[in-house]
Amino acid sequence: MWEYTDKVRDLFLHPKNVGELEKPDSVGEVGSIVCGDALKLFLKVDKETNRITDATFQTFGCASAIASSSALTEIIKGKTLDEALKVTNQDIADFLGGLPREKMHCSVMGREALEAAVANYRGGKPREAEEGEIICQCYGITDQKIKHVIMENKLRTVEDVTNYTKAGGGCGGCVPEIEKILKEIWSEKIIEEGKPKKRLTNIQKISLIKEIIEKEIRPLLQSDGGDVELVDVDGNIVIVSLRGMCRECLMADVTAKNIEKKLKELVSEELVVEAE
């Protein structure tokens, strides 16, 4: 059972702005029935001011998809197109008092329908629809979309990418590729943000090691059924405890070596990792 807010429940049970507009100035359509959710957004736009005077929707999907669609129409009514484009998926979620993490993709769908509708009005193509290479075959999600959503929502794990885009949620075949994208995005970032310029104090070193293990290494191991925990840092010796699959499959040594490589790269060449 999902923990929906009262607002989600209310907009699901009594959605506002339902149905097709007669002679809409623009229509934005995203998703498909095969994927399990789809949203068609209809806009009336004032030609002079570029203001959205009316917005309605039709949605095929779960309770949070319906509520997100309804929320979107409520949010954008009265806004100019440029103002509307500033609405993020997080704004939609916030309007609803939050969405369960697994359901964030519903808010992303709202944001995409909006982009599609504005693009349709302006006579262009929506940004992501056709660009990029399909990564998730089950739901037809492109690398462009995955990257965009990762950056915009600061996602760190494959699980979150699935929650926000559905990619990886079908057969799971594309999980390694999503991991790769995450790695590309965040290892660049971590190097930019976190690479020590001068000598670290012990406390800085430990907290950096801790952060890298938590944010970078754990999610990867967890997706393979394993886990790792930082036990202690003794000088340059990092002691970790491996659990689950990575321990059982007798790959503990390899895993520890990989962790060491990562920490050497990002923190200090002198570090040595030992598994407990």
């Binding site: 999902w2 339902v18 789809a38 039709q58 779960c62 309770a63």
Partner: protein, 388 residues
């Protein structure tokens, strides 16, 4: 508002008689059945009574019943034990539609180097027995095939399956969690080596199960420790739940005819009514060979979670194979294996009844459902594709 509970394949209400039978063991009779003093030791006798009651439901001998903590533990134990005694054999044969208790166990074994064959099913959820025959090899350590499917209700022909598997001398385990109490089971006539059961599907508490191990079958315990259950399952017994489970089996035996008359009639009325009043709906699964209490219906162009939450407003409880309800975005593996189109899986609803359901329950669903489906279709961009 009264709860209309149509999700009995997920779990069931504890029967009043079961709760009463349990009460002494939740209050004054708290002794440890392994103790030397009378106060504790007397409890042991009640476990043995429960063992007889469980055995009686399937015509087993009491000594062939091991109490476990749940259906999942029974499944895991059976498979582990079979593998233990055939260490040189590295192949497990099962189906694509098993409960995760078997499916994910097999996947875990795959990661440890086992070969797994997941037999496919056809559109109506049936197995191809020729396929089963040709998939057994000299390397096969165990065959695990469920008796009836929890989602579709489809019943596999256990007699024929057992004949095929046993003619090859391979150990056969059956997950009968969904069949106990719904279909007659006679292990004396079934050459199945091990069979799993779960208490909470037959009106006893959650967290108790049983594993039938045919006399003469080599068995290796999964939970290791004390000498409880004759050394076959360690851990101080969940006495109250075991006693409740025993009572529930006695009741199940008594109500078995009702499942196939009263419950079946209610299910059929529900199903026929929904198919008639909700356009573009259809039944998933083999209607010829199906549990009497289960109906899995797909309503095209609407999404299952939305249906369930609208029904929830009327306190009607059911479940769905839709991706959105699975917690993993993955639509039902059972319906996918049956080749049900994605559009139909998203809108699938499983109703599962029990002897507690009444005509009024069915009336309410038949009254509410057409409106729910119609409204959701009006919300949907695909609604107009519905044939008028």
């Amino acid at each position: 508002m009264k709860v209309v509970y149509l999700d009995n394949n997920a779990t069931t209400r504890i029967a009043d008689e079961v709760r009463e039978a349990m009460m002494p063991f939740l209050t004054e009779l708290y002794g440890n059945p392994s103790s030397m003093h009378t106060f504790g030791g007397q409890v042991h006798r009640h476990i043995e009574v429960a063992r007889e009651q469980v055995a009686a439901l399937i015509n087993a001998e009491p000594g062939e019943i091991i109490f476990t903590s749940c259906g999942t533990e029974s499944d895991n134990t059976a498979l582990m034990s079979a593998l233990e005694f055939a260490p040189q054999k590295k192949h497990i044969l099962t189906t694509r539609v098993e409960h995760p208790a078997v499916l994910n166990f097999c996947k875990a074994m795959y990661r440890k180097g086992y070969k797994i064959t997941f037999l496919p099913v056809n559109k109506s959820g049936r197995l191809d027995l020729e396929d089963l025959k040709s998939s057994i090899t000299d390397d096969t350590a165990v065959v695990s095939i469920m008796h009836a499917n929890n989602e579709s209700g489809v019943i596999f022909p256990l007699n024929e399956i057992a004949d095929i598997v046993k003619s090859r001398g391979v150990v056969l385990h059956t997950d009968a969690v969904q069949t106990a109490g719904k279909l007659p089971l006679d292990v004396r006539k079934l050459p199945v080596d091990m069979m799993s059961f779960s208490g909470h599907k037959i009106h006893s508490p959650k967290g108790v199960g049983a594993l039938y191990v045919k006399r003469g079958t080599r068995f290796s315990p999964y939970i290791i420790g004390g000498h409880q259950e004759g050394g076959r399952r360690a851990g101080t017994e969940n006495v109250a739940s075991i006693v409740g489970f025993g009572k529930a089996c006695e009741l199940a035996k008594k109500y078995l005819p009702d499942e196939n008359t009263k419950v079946r009639a209610l299910r059929d009325r529900l199903e026929q009514g929904l198919l008639k009043t909700c356009p573009d709906s259809r039944v998933n699964g083999d209607v010829e060979s199906r549990l009497p209490n289960t109906s899995n219906i797909s309503f095209e162009f609407v999404e299952g979670e939305a249906i369930l939450l609208r029904l929830n407003e009327y306190n009607i409880c059911a479940s769905s194979g839709s991706a959105c309800t699975s917690g993993s975005l993955e639509p039902s593996h059972v319906l996918r294996s049956m080749g049900v189109p994605f559009t139909m899986i998203h809108g699938s609803v499983r109703f599962s009844l029990s002897v507690n359901n009444t005509d009024e329950d069915i009336d309410l669903v038949l009254k509410i459902m057409p409106g729910v489906i119609k409204e959701l279709r009006e919300l949907s961009p695909y609604g107009r594709e519905v044939k008028k």
